[in-house]
Amino acid sequence: MEILLAILIGLLYSAGVYLLLRRSILKFIIGIIFMSNATNLLVFLSAGIIPGKPVFIGQETETVLQTDPLPQALVLTAIVIGFGIVVFTLALKYKFFNTTGTDDLDQLKKTDS
Amino acid sequence: MNILLVSILLFFGSVFILIASIGLVRFKDLYSRMHATTKATSFGILLLLLGISIYFNSWNVAIKVVLIINLIYFTAPLAAHSIAKSYEDKKDKE
């Protein structure tokens, strides 16, 4: 399971990097989303996986070997933050498109040089 | 006996979802496909939920199951309606 997830993380990173190298801003943002999902999975995987019981405090009090819940809490926070950032970048892109009418990263030369 | 009933319900639920999926592939135009997906899917989920509520056999689950069934039978036709309406309007424009 860990190996499968590791391969998935690698695939997501490579897809994200590929999308980052495109010229369109929207694809750039999608690439960022891919990479942030891959990173979230990486943090999630950092505690290892123990299949079986989900980590919830229920009525049963017997101590079973559970996955470390802290990375899951961290990932939850990271997902929330990532959500906010992605929404903001989309709004930024929308405004940029409305004012300039272009979606091409190579057109962004006004503030350089 | 109980578990057998549950598994049969679950099996038939999945069968109906599969039927919806086959219908989605086989039918010729969008509206016919929508017929397949709305009816068969919601019925399949209904059977699955019935199986679940028999399996867990508790009030807590049963209340949720009734809620979900109501919700699905409330929303599935509306979703179909919204897709169909947007398709219809688009056809009118062309």
């Binding site: - | 109906f16 039927i19 086959i22 219908g23 086989r26 039918f27 010729k28 135009d29 509206y31 016919s32 929508m34 017929h35 397949a36 709305t38 009816k39 068969a40 919601s42 019925f43 039978y73 409330f74 599935a76 036709p77 509306l78 179909a80 309606h81 169909a84 309406k85 219809e88």
Partner: protein, 110 residues
């Protein structure tokens, strides 16, 4: 007496709904699983007699769940629902079918 009759009406209506749902599923399953297609789709405008808005919502949902029909659009001008039907039946069969459902809903909301 009136208070007692509402649950009775609701119960019969629900049973009717359930019956319709099962019937429509059997129809569609038969149609999909047999190799030959029996479908021959078309449209029809169905006039509406229900006044209440909730009744309209109910009717449109129910039409979508009954065998072979799918409500597509509602036109305020005509006060009618555009219904898509799947089978090669005459239009008036669809119309009478929907008329029966409408009567039931009107009786329910009285």
């Amino acid at each position: 007496m009136k208070i007692l009759s509402i649950p009775y009406k609701l119960l019969t209506f629900l049973l009717y709904y359930l019956f319709k749902v099962i019937q429509s599923n059997i129809y569609i399953a038969y149609d999909i699983l047999t190799p030959k297609m029996h479908t021959n789709p078309g449209y029809v405008w169905v006039p509406i007699r229900i006044n209440s808005k909730f009744g309209l919502l109910f009717l449109s949902n129910l039409i979508s769940m009954t065998p072979g029909t799918l409500s597509i659009d509602y036109s305020e001008k005509k006060n009618a629902l555009l219904v898509h039907y799947l089978y090669d039946s005459k239009e008036h069969i669809v119309l009478t079918d929907i008329e029966r459902i409408q009567n039931k809903i009107i009786a329910l909301f009285k």
